[in-house]
């Protein structure tokens, strides 16, 4: 899951800019790595690839701050 997420971010959202490596605890939004538009694309990617539906009210920073947060959120969501 981690590899799938980071490679999507690196390939799609950072235009394959090879200098940047995303780490599990990198603050994605706060550091400006991705913006809200990128975040929406990431969410669409998650919905399509991990078979979860992310409702609008879950779009809060606690769920999407880092890759680690996202993983935790997906697992929680899938267990519902």
């Amino acid at each position: 899951m981690y590899i799938k997420l980071t490679s999507y971010i690196e390939q799609q959202l950072l235009s394959g800019n090879s200098d940047i490596r995303i780490l599990p605890e990198d603050d994605l939004l706060g550091s400006g790595l991705i913006d809200s538009m990128g975040m929406i694309n990431l969410i669409a990617f998650i919905e399509n690839n991990f078979n979860v539906v992310i409702p609008a009210e879950d779009m809060i920073i606690e769920n999407f701050m880092t890759i680690k947060h996202i993983e935790r959120y997906i697992i929680k969501r899938k267990s519902l």
Partner: protein
């Protein structure tokens, strides 16, 4: 040929590309408005720092070199736009040095206003860059770019880069020639995206959206195509405090999203939807909003136009609060963002919104490290489809959110432009202060609007003279000119003096009869001088009058007398009139007591009249419920009459006609205004028929100056030429007055005619709002109703009683001197309709239930009754608009549109029932009155007595059955048709009691319940009679045919039963067949009202008619004829040999006696395995099919007769009629018998239905085409009903409740009807339409195709015979099944008769 651009470019190859979706839409927008600078994106940056001009110029040239977007031009190739990027472009930045000039603020403003209008030609440079020097330390950089090459994000890239480049050139750093990522990449990306099949989910999302597109809302009611690009920007800083509160709200746990900007965007979108809803009333809304489309890092660094505007769609619920709406908006935005992929927009999607929300989070903070002030300058133009564009931004990161409203100048008046930000801000504040409050609750208007809408409009008070009543005014006239005429009635003239004398005398008599001050006296008279004398006399006796028109049924009169606690009734009905027998209060009969009145000593009554006392009580006939008595005080009356006398009467001694019903409050004007202005009243006699043509007589006589009437009355005048009419003033009231009609009336009259449109509910005394029509300025569809009359106030309020802004539709509330004192003895409606005044708590206001709005000129416009208001799929529909459009059709004379239930599909729905017999209210001729009594019960009361003659005794039956015994050799005296039910079982037992030889016969249709069959077997065994079961293999075919033809199974079953039993009777030489039909069934199938019309009912004639109908019945072609041997019915002899007797014609037994007999004497057990009183398991199928087609059970009619005749209780009938239908069971049987349900087009529950009058029926498809070419498709009704005339109430108003069920019109499949020609045909058409309940019927429509049966045939022939004084047999209807054929036959018959008469002479 491409014009050579006026700049140099080198010869290297040029890149050519198609346009992106967004560019294409912009390009088309520009093409449509070639002269308009609507896509100029102008930013100005005010820099308070020294600028090195040459370095600035160098930096700008490098910016151009780096940026392909700035070097792009647009040309057309084969009509298709393409874009080219020029390899190089040398641009000289314009420099304006105003450092020496004075008043540079003004100079700049002037320059800017002109410069922003600069048209950037698409094939040339698409930007404009100017540096203006104001002083050494103050510059403004003006930078305008065409939207084809840029968006807000791009401008911020360019601005930032420009700042970098400038810094570098200034410091001498070499400028690297590193270009921006090319816009080409995005063009390619979008193209690939569109071809990418993996994006099908995205595409289907937008395809689905397309299907749900709502219509554009009407902002402040603006309605119309708009092509003007003129636009005004109103900017508003919402302030630091409010901005801070909004940011705090955005952090709230129920609101917050991933980022602050996202949360704020969600909030603003919610407020915008709420705002549009509040100013348009539309529930289903779309708002366009840009998706910035810069998903990757590289795109974020690319200048060019990326944004793409796509719709957000929301359906607001009436009871939404801010937070509930917010939750839906947030989800919609979430989905929107996930699906907003580059290239998804298109022209169709962009038509779905006329409001755009642009939340910009770009900012332009510093230039060369100096703070700048940036401004986005509006070019004064905007895409005309965008009526309102809201941009939200904080370019300078000041923390103070700025709102810019770009408002189209055609849509918003200057005044409205100033109100828009206030309305919006009030909603922001409401959301901040309480997110859980309903969207509809907060008031949105400004102080200024309050002043206008609540105060200014109502500043029209004039003082009334203290204690002057209507009687004082009348008596002044009596004194001034006693001998002048006051009333004219036929040849009679009554002077003021005489009128005064008679009313004084009447007052004396009333007082002697015990009428006291404050009492109520009812007047139940036709229009006559006595009526006016009574009104004056009652007032002089200090009592209040109640006018009741003579066409009211006694039941209603009684209700009014009781409700009003009237102490006396004045009428001219004779004492002998039995229908007045029920009146429980003293009656003064003018016919017998007039002489008495004339002899009473005349005493002038003592004055003054207390203006607070009641002048009259007017009963309104609401569409539902019991009539309500509106109490009008003397003060209210005099206020109106003084206004009316001043406004409507311009000449001395005006003549008014009295031609409308006396209990219609419109009539009050005609009664009093002439009598207080020295004029006179011409009284027109009431006709006894339903339609009153008095108006035509008024017009013909041409002896009145002022007339008050309804628009429906005016319809009667269409096509006349009235240039020489004496009428100078016309007061139109009572219903909505359409502009077309006003124009037509103006055109048929002379030019001196003045028309007033007067509006007013009875509860506000006749009229409280008035508009003098200016024929030249009739623009809107409905004539304005205008402004309030003196001493009356009007308020247009929403459901929370907030004032609504100008243009917005609200409900009209009225208050003032003319307000009624409420309804008499009706606390429920008093509290619901007379509510606390919205702004002065100690006063009352009347809630009119009428939807109105203020138009631009400050006049009120009436739109619709609130209960006629239609929301169709979230969109508010104005029925009046559809009517106006249709009435422009050259062939259509009048029309009305209603939004009504489609009753077809309702199977298990409860409907209203007659309170007396239980008949369903949707039965075609039910016509429930306000006491919920059906028309049949009402009319049966009139001939119930006469029907008794039809019935006989058991002795008579015995005599008949025995009469042939000697003559005929037979084993059986009769066949008894035994269904196994209680009625036929009892009848059989009784026949056996009479010692008759009976053969019992039962039709086994395959669906008789087992328990019923057991009953039959037990009973015949017990009684010792012979019994046979009749059968036919064609039963299922007969059922199917019956369902198709009559929507029931019983018709087919009965005919089979009669056919088989008759055959058996012939074979066995049995002279009689006895049926067990109930008395209710007699009336259902043969004993029509018409048979009892004659004063002396001729039973032999009835028998003959019924027999004749029976013959025709058996000879009608249907499945029975096709599958069974019916040859014997061809021969009249058969009906001589076998006679039919109905047992219950001879036996009147109560239900309890009958059941007791069965219990005590027979082994009959009530079956529990069928639907109640029937023994038949297939019955439900018939009920199902019938309900589906007509909306009511086929049993409602026969059961109503059983109830009416006392053979069933209403409750039992209703229980059975309303029994749940077991649909799966019904479907199973349908399959068994091979009946295919007609495929119903899935109908909407409710639909728009047009009723129109026109010389000929116009095909539905033609009418729909006509409508679709003029209105949005959703407004084009799909059902059109051609009528000969629209139904009017007795008050001359259109009677919506009398409009027929649309399914009662001829289906389009039946060949269109040819209208009648000869007089005979005209009469026949009228009779047929009344009986068949279908309009219109043409002379070639066939009786059976119109749904005729033997019952309708009896009704028709009886009416025809009465009308033409003939004696035709029922079979004529079947033999000559069209009006054309029948008409010829009648003509021939009459001619022959005349010849015979001549010969005999």
């Amino acid at each position: 040929m491409i014009e050579k651009p006026d700049f140099e470019f080198d010869e290297s190859p040029i890149k050519i590309n198609n346009l992106t979706q967004t560019q294409l839409l912009i390009w088309m927008g520009q093409k449509l408005n070639p002269e308009s600078p609507l896509y100029n994106m102008i930013l100005t940056f005010e820099m308070n720092s020294p600028i090195d001009i040459p370095h600035f110029q160098t930096a700008f040239q490098s910016l151009i070199n780096k940026c392909d977007a700035l070097r792009t031009i647009f040309i057309e190739s084969d009509g298709q736009p393409i874009q080219k990027v020029l390899p190089s472009l040398i641009y000289e930045l314009e420099l304006l040095d105003w450092s020496e000039k004075i008043d540079t603020i003004f100079l700049y403003q002037q320059w800017k206003d002109k410069r922003i209008q600069k048209n950037l030609e698409l094939s040339k440079i698409l930007f404009d860059s100017v540096l203006i020097k104001f002083s050494e330390k103050r510059y403004i950089w003006y930078f305008n770019q065409h939207h084809l090459i840029t968006d807000a994000w791009a401008v911020s890239i360019l601005y930032k880069t420009m700042s970098d480049l400038y810094k570098k050139t200034k410091s001498g750093e070499p400028l690297q020639i590193v270009t921006f990522p090319s816009y080409q990449n995005y063009i390619d990306f979008e193209k690939n995206n569109q071809e990418d099949t993996t994006l099908y989910k995205i595409k289907s999302y937008w395809k689905d959206k397309l299907k749900k597109l709502p219509t554009n809302p009407r902002l402040y009611s603006y309605n119309g195509p708009n092509f003007n690009t003129d636009s005004k920007r109103i900017s508003l800083n919402i302030g630091i405090d409010r901005s801070t509160k909004l940011r705090a709200l955005a952090q709230h746990k129920d609101i917050r999203s991933l980022t602050l900007h996202m949360s704020l965007f969600n909030i603003f979108a919610t407020i915008l939807f709420a705002y549009i809803y509040r100013i348009s009333g539309q529930l289903k809304l779309a708002v366009g909003t840009p998706s910035h489309n810069r998903a990757t890092k590289a795109f974020k660094e690319t200048p060019g136009v990326f944004i793409e505007v796509l719709p957000l769609m929301i359906e607001i619920e009436e009871d939404d609060s801010f937070i509930t709406l917010f939750n839906r908006v947030r989800s919609e935005i979430h989905e929107f963002l996930k699906h907003a992929q580059p290239g998804t927009s298109n022209a169709e999607l962009s038509r779905s919104y006329n409001v755009v929300l642009n939340y910009i989070h770009s900012s332009f903070s510093t230039f060369d490290d100096f703070p700048t002030k940036s401004e986005w300058v509006h070019p004064g133009h905007c895409d005309p489809r965008h009526h309102l564009r809201l941009q939200i931004h904080d370019f300078d990161d000041s923390g103070n959110i700025q709102l810019s409203f770009d408002l189209n100048c055609d849509v918003f008046s200057d005044f409205q432009c100033e109100s828009v930000p206030i309305h919006f801000m009030n909603l922001i504040d409401a959301f901040i202060s309480d997110a859980t409050q309903p969207l509809k609750k907060p008031s949105i208007i400004s102080e200024l609007e309050y002043q206008q809408l609540a105060i200014n409009i109502n500043q029209n008070g004039t003082r009334l003279k203290k204690e002057q009543s209507i009687l004082d005014l009348f008596e002044l006239g009596v004194e001034a000119s006693p001998d002048d005429t006051a009333l004219v009635y036929n040849e009679t003239r009554i002077s003021y003096q005489l009128l005064n004398k008679r009313s004084n005398q009447l007052a004396q008599l009333l007082i002697r009869r015990g009428v006291l001050s404050g009492h109520r006296v009812a007047v139940y008279l036709r229009r006559s001088p006595e009526c006016i004398i009574s009104i004056l006399g009652i007032m002089k006796a200090k009592a209040a009058f109640i006018l009741i028109s003579r066409n009211n049924p006694v039941k209603r009169v009684n209700y009014i007398l009781e409700n009003s606690k009237a102490s006396l009734l004045i009428t001219d009905k004779k004492e002998s009139d039995p229908s007045l027998g029920d009146i429980k209060i003293p009656v003064l009969r003018l016919d017998s007591e007039m002489e008495l009145i004339n002899q009473v000593e005349e005493i002038e009554p003592s004055y003054p009249v207390d203006l607070r006392s009641l002048a009259y009580i007017m009963y309104t006939s609401g569409s539902t419920g019991l009539p309500k008595g509106v109490m009008i005080s003397h003060r209210a009356l005099i206020n109106y009459i003084l206004f009316a006398s001043k406004k409507y009467v311009s000449l001395q001694k005006p003549v008014f006609p009295l031609f409308t019903m006396i209990d219609f409050d419109l009539t009050i004007t005609s009664i009093f205004v002439p009598l207080v202005t020295g004029g006179h009243l011409v009284i027109y006699k009431e006709s006894k028929s339903a339609t009153d043509f008095s108006l035509l007589k008024v017009i013909e006589d041409n002896s009145v100056d002022v007339i008050k009437l309804t628009p429906s009355h005016l319809n009667l005048l269409k096509g006349k030429s009235l240039k020489n009419s004496r009428i100078k003033t016309m007061i139109v009231g009572g219903e909505a007055f359409k502009s077309e009609l006003a124009n037509e009336v103006q055109s048929i009259f002379h030019s001196n005619l003045t028309i007033f449109n007067e509006y007013g509910p009875t509860e506000a005394t006749v009229g409280c709002v008035v508009h003098k029509i200016n024929p030249k300025s009739l623009s809107s569809k409905s004539v304005p109703i205008g402004r309030p009359i003196p001493n009356m106030q009007v308020y247009v309020l929403d459901d929370y009683r907030n004032l609504v802004p100008k243009g917005v539709i609200g409900e009209l509330y009225v208050s003032g001197l003319g307000l009624a004192d409420g309804y008499i003895n009706n606390p429920k409606f008093n509290s619901s309709n007379f509510v606390p005044h919205p702004f002065e708590p100690d006063r009352k206001a009347y809630k009119t239930g009428d939807l109105v709005r203020f138009n631009h000129s400050g006049n009120l416009e009436f739109l619709e009754r609130k209960d006629r208001q239609v929301q169709m799929g979230g969109i508010r529909i104005e029925l009046g608009e559809i009517e106006s459009t249709l009435s422009l059709h050259p062939d259509i004379k009048e029309c009305v549109v209603v939004y009504r239930e489609n009753k077809k599909n309702v199977i298990n729905q409860k409907t209203k029932h007659c309170s007396s017999c239980g008949l369903s209210s949707n039965y075609p001729q039910a016509e429930l009155d306000e006491f919920d009594v059906c028309q049949m019960c009402r009319s049966f009361d009139n001939y119930r007595q006469k029907t008794k003659k039809y019935f006989k005794t058991l002795d008579d039956l015995q005599a008949v059955l025995r009469s042939n015994k000697a003559k005929i050799q037979t084993t059986y005296d009769c066949i008894m048709l035994l269904s196994g039910g209680k009625d036929s079982t009892y009848a059989l037992a009784k026949l056996v009691d009479m010692n008759l030889e009976v053969l019992a016969f039962t039709l086994d249709n395959g669906y008789i319940s087992k328990q019923a069959k057991d009953n039959i077997r037990r009973v015949v065994k017990d009684l010792g009679v012979d019994h046979v079961f009749g059968q036919t293999p064609a039963m299922n075919a007969i059922f199917t045919d019956s369902l198709q033809r009559y929507s029931n199974v019983c018709n087919g079953c009965f005919k089979t039963l009669y056919t088989l039993s008759t055959k058996l009777a012939l074979e066995k030489n049995i002279p009689y067949i006895v049926t067990g039909l109930s008395r209710g069934q007699f009336f259902e199938t043969r004993l029509t009202e018409e048979l009892f019309w004659k004063e002396n009912v001729d039973i032999d004639h009835i028998n003959k008619t019924i027999l004749s109908a029976r013959k025709a019945y058996h000879r009608t072609d249907d499945a029975v004829c096709q599958h069974l041997d019916v040859s014997m019915f061809e021969d009249d002899q058969t009906f001589e040999q076998v006679r039919y007797l109905d047992f219950y014609r001879y036996c009147d037994v109560s239900l309890s006696d009958l059941m007791a007999y069965l219990d005590n004497n027979l082994p009959w057990i009530r079956p529990s395995d069928t639907g109640r009183s029937t023994n038949c398991l297939i019955n439900q199928v018939g009920i199902y099919v019938h309900k589906k087609k007509y909306g009511y059970s086929n049993y409602t009619f026969p059961y109503s007769w059983d109830v009416r005749l006392g053979h069933k209780t209403r409750e039992a009938a209703l229980d059975e009629i309303n029994e749940e239908i077991d649909e799966p069971y019904v479907k199973k049987i349908m399959l068994e018998i091979g009946y295919h349900e007609p495929k119903n087009v899935p109908d909407e529950e409710k639909q728009l239905v047009v009723y129109y009058t026109a010389p000929n029926k116009i095909s539905t498809s033609k009418l729909r085409k006509y409508m679709i070419s003029r209105l949005p498709e959703y407004l084009a009704p799909s059902k059109y009903v051609h009528m000969l005339s629209l139904p009017l109430s007795t008050h001359g108003k259109l009677d919506l409740h009398a409009l027929p069920n649309p399914d009662a019109s001829l289906p389009d499949t039946i060949e269109s009807n040819i209208p009648p020609g000869s007089e005979i045909e005209v009469m026949l058409v009228t009779i047929w339409q009344e009986v068949m309940q279908i309009q219109p019927i043409g002379i070639n429509n066939k009786f059976l195709e119109l749904g005729g049966n033997s019952l309708t045939a009896i009704r028709l022939i009886t009416r025809i015979n009465t009308a033409f004084d003939l004696d035709l047999s029922v079979s004529c209807i079947f033999d000559m099944p069209t009006i054309s054929k029948l008409g010829k036959h009648i003509e021939q018959t009459i001619l022959t008769m005349l010849d015979e008469i001549k010969e005999s002479i």
